[in-house]
């Protein structure tokens, strides 16, 4: 079932006229006749959970926003999509930008935000143009600006470009960055709903979350909640990548099994080059990696489904997380140690450097992993690595510390033998061929 991407393939859907002809902006017409509280209530009923990674109920987040007299409130759309494996928001914004703008107008009305910002990662430079074009079209047709559709509601949307920092996907770092500062996460409390951008009450939501408000208003929250299963309501965009026949962005209702998602021709079409499935990170690089057997079936032997509850079944011992929906698949030829090393390098590179466990710990983990990968590791390094990740997890200001610790922990938990192989076979570590043989030397990982 498709709610968001149903019309994404229609020719010229990026243009306002085509989008409107296909039923666009109906949710705004409907929402402007409702009260803001009624909209929040519909979103609550829909059971929509934040699509950025944490999965927090959106309606509840909206109801937390403080409403002090005379202080403007802001909605900020988090389009700083940077989690390795995740590229769903990019797809949505690139192909059907008006859907996001439509969701933003409805959400701005519900939250009372007269000035709304889209904070987009700096690398998506061409998408900024696409969004700004869509905003101009929406404004020319009376969906933005002063006194929208004669209701007295004013709203402007601006696109703010980031400049290359994963950490700005964390909502308080994003707010700092929006204020023109370094993207250092703030210490909470106060939460953004009370003191956000310029100390004003602020709600930060992911692109996909805000786009999902459109079908929720169109069909009603209760109807939306019927799609999916349990607390995983509605549809979810999954960005599949790695060694798959058909990597790409898929919209699923959360009832299909992981096996179907990987092997069915409707979705990823199986593992590329006739290889076998080895492991998978089902929700973006920071969630635990699972070996094939635990991915397709839970520890209890039940089928694992593509939804919040089923993916996290078994906790971190035998389960993982839905996260942001970045589905990274490794085939049998891939080296888990090397893959974990690239992730450790990523988190070291993206740590803001504010708090000590993350600043020092991420670099330390990368160095040890590099030693192991290049045949210089010791058995005790594996235990040390485990110990370091456990001291980072939970002890940092923001979740980046956890995000850096989890992949390392899960790789050791499920693939310890592969780490040990590296320690016992130092020569073979160096001889392995990653494409061009001469590449297996350290300058490849020059910082």
């Amino acid at each position: 079932m498709k709610l968001l991407l149903e019309k994404a393939h229609i020719e010229n859907i990026r243009l306002y006229d085509v989008y409107r002809r296909e039923g666009g902006y109906r949710s705004v017409e409907k929402a402007l006749k409702m009260t803001p509280d009624e909209i929040v209530d519909q979103v609550k009923r829909s059971g929509l959970r934040g699509r950025g990674g944490a999965g927090f109920p959106t309606g509840m987040k909206w109801s937390f926003i403080a409403k002090p007299e005379g202080v403007p409130r802001h909605l900020v759309c988090n389009a700083d999509e940077s989690e390795p494996g995740t590229f769903k928001d990019r797809y949505l914004m690139e192909f059907i930008p008006h859907l996001l703008i439509e969701g933003l107008i409805v959400s701005s009305f519900a939250l009372g935000s007269n000035v709304t910002y889209i904070y987009i990662r700096g690398e998506y430079a061409w998408i900024v143009d696409i969004l700004e074009q869509a905003i101009i079209e929406a404004k020319n047709n009376g969906w933005l600006g002063k006194n929208i559709q004669g209701t007295g509601f004013d709203c402007e949307i601006y696109v703010q470009r980031g400049a290359g920092a994963y950490i700005c996907g964390e909502e308080t770092a994003l707010i700092e960055s929006l204020e023109g500062k370094r993207g250092n996460p703030r210490i909470k409390p106060p939460f953004p709903a009370v003191k956000g951008v310029w100390d004003r009450p602020t709600v930060v939501n992911n692109v996909e979350t805000l786009a999902a408000v459109v079908p929720i208003i169109n069909m009603g929250g209760d109807e939306y909640a019927k799609i999916g299963v349990g607390k995983s309501t509605g549809t979810k965009l999954i960005s599949a990548c790695g060694n798959l026949n058909k990597p790409g962005v898929y919209e699923i209702d959360m009832t299909i099994s992981v096996e179907e998602f990987i092997y069915s021709d409707k979705y990823c079409g199986g593992i590329a080059n006739g290889r076998k499935l080895k492991a998978c990170i089902p929700g973006g690089s920071s969630v635990p990696i699972l070996p094939a057997n635990l991915l397709l079936k839970t520890a209890k032997g039940e089928t694992r489904y593509m939804n919040y509850e089923s993916l996290s079944d078994g906790g971190f011992a035998t389960g993982s997380m839905m996260g942001s929906g970045g589905f990274i698949v490794l085939d049998e030829d891939q080296c888990v140690v090397r893959h974990t090393l690239t992730l450790a390098r990523f988190y070291r590179h993206e740590s803001c450097g504010q708090c000590s466990p993350c600043r020092e710990g991420t670099g330390w983990m990368e160095k040890i992993l590099k030693n192991i990968e290049y045949g210089k590791g010791k058995m005790s390094d594996i235990d040390l690595l485990w110990d370091i990740q456990s001291r980072i997890e939970g002890n940092t200001i923001c979740p980046l510390g956890d995000a850096a610790a989890w992949p390392v922990a899960a790789a050791i938990r499920h693939f310890r033998d592969e780490f040990e192989w590296h320690v016992f076979n130092p020569d073979e570590c160096l001889k392995r061929n990653y494409g061009l043989a001469h590449y297996a030397d350290e300058r490849a990982l020059a910082v």
């Binding site: 999509e81 940077s82 989690e83 390795p84 494996g85 995740t86 590229f87 990019r90 000035v115 910002y117 990662r121 700096g122 690398e123 998506y124 430079a125 061409w126 703010q160 470009r161 980031g162 400049a163 290359g164 920092a165 994963y166 960055s177 929006l178 204020e179 023109g180 500062k181 370094r182 993207g183 310029w198 960005s239 599949a240 990548c241 790695g242 060694n243 990597p247 790409g248 962005v249 990170i281 690089s285 990274i328 490794l330 891939q334 090397r338 893959h339 690239t342 992730l343 390098r345 990523f346 590179h349 803001c352 990653y434 494409g435 061009l436 001469h438 590449y439 300058r443 490849a444 020059a446």
Partner: protein
């Protein structure tokens, strides 16, 4: 001392107008992008001081921000910058080979610029094109599904463009 042209000033004012009164510092990131594009693809101390004076902030506030974000170049770069992703999902699809190929082809290592000032090779972390890996960013756009043949074609294309513009 370089300063914005009239057209760039109009863009500058458009960026600043998005924020509430007295919060013009918020425009710092977009203004730095504008400055980088306008003044040769990198930010010199002089450029940053100029941005600071335009926004009415202390120079150190601009340095702090410019050094935090990876997209601002604080040293001159080549005319064409190949920013090749090397994170997990791209690695699985062979980005290591692509980086090695470019190194060999251009005779430079990551972080270096060719002697003629044409190309800079930079390894970057995840750019959000994991499904279309391996990939690199060239200017404003992404080049995806890279192969050595595609890299050859891109290098050729850049040389041709440079020759045309001269």
């Amino acid at each position: 001392m370089s300063s914005f042209s009239q057209a760039q000033m109009i863009e500058f004012n458009r960026l600043v107008a998005r924020y509430p009164e007295g919060k013009q510092k918020s425009a710092l990131l977009p203004v730095l992008h504008l400055a980088q594009e306008s003044f040769g693809g990198w930010l010199s101390a002089e450029t940053m001081d100029y941005v600071a004076s335009l926004l009415g902030v202390e120079p150190i506030e601009v340095y702090e921000v410019a050094t935090f974000y990876s997209m601002y170049n604080l040293k001159p770069v080549g005319k064409y910058m190949f920013e090749v992703c090397q994170t997990g999902p791209c690695m699985l699809r062979g980005s290591d080979s692509i980086i090695a190929y470019i190194e060999e082809k251009l005779g430079i290592k990551p972080g270096e610029t060719t002697l003629d000032g044409m190309f800079t090779l930079k390894t970057v972390e995840c750019l959000g094109a994991c499904g279309y890996a391996p990939m690199m960013q060239l200017g404003k756009h992404y080049r995806e599904h890279l192969t050595s043949e595609k890299v050859d074609a891109i290098i050729e294309e850049c040389r041709k463009n440079a020759a045309m513009n001269n």
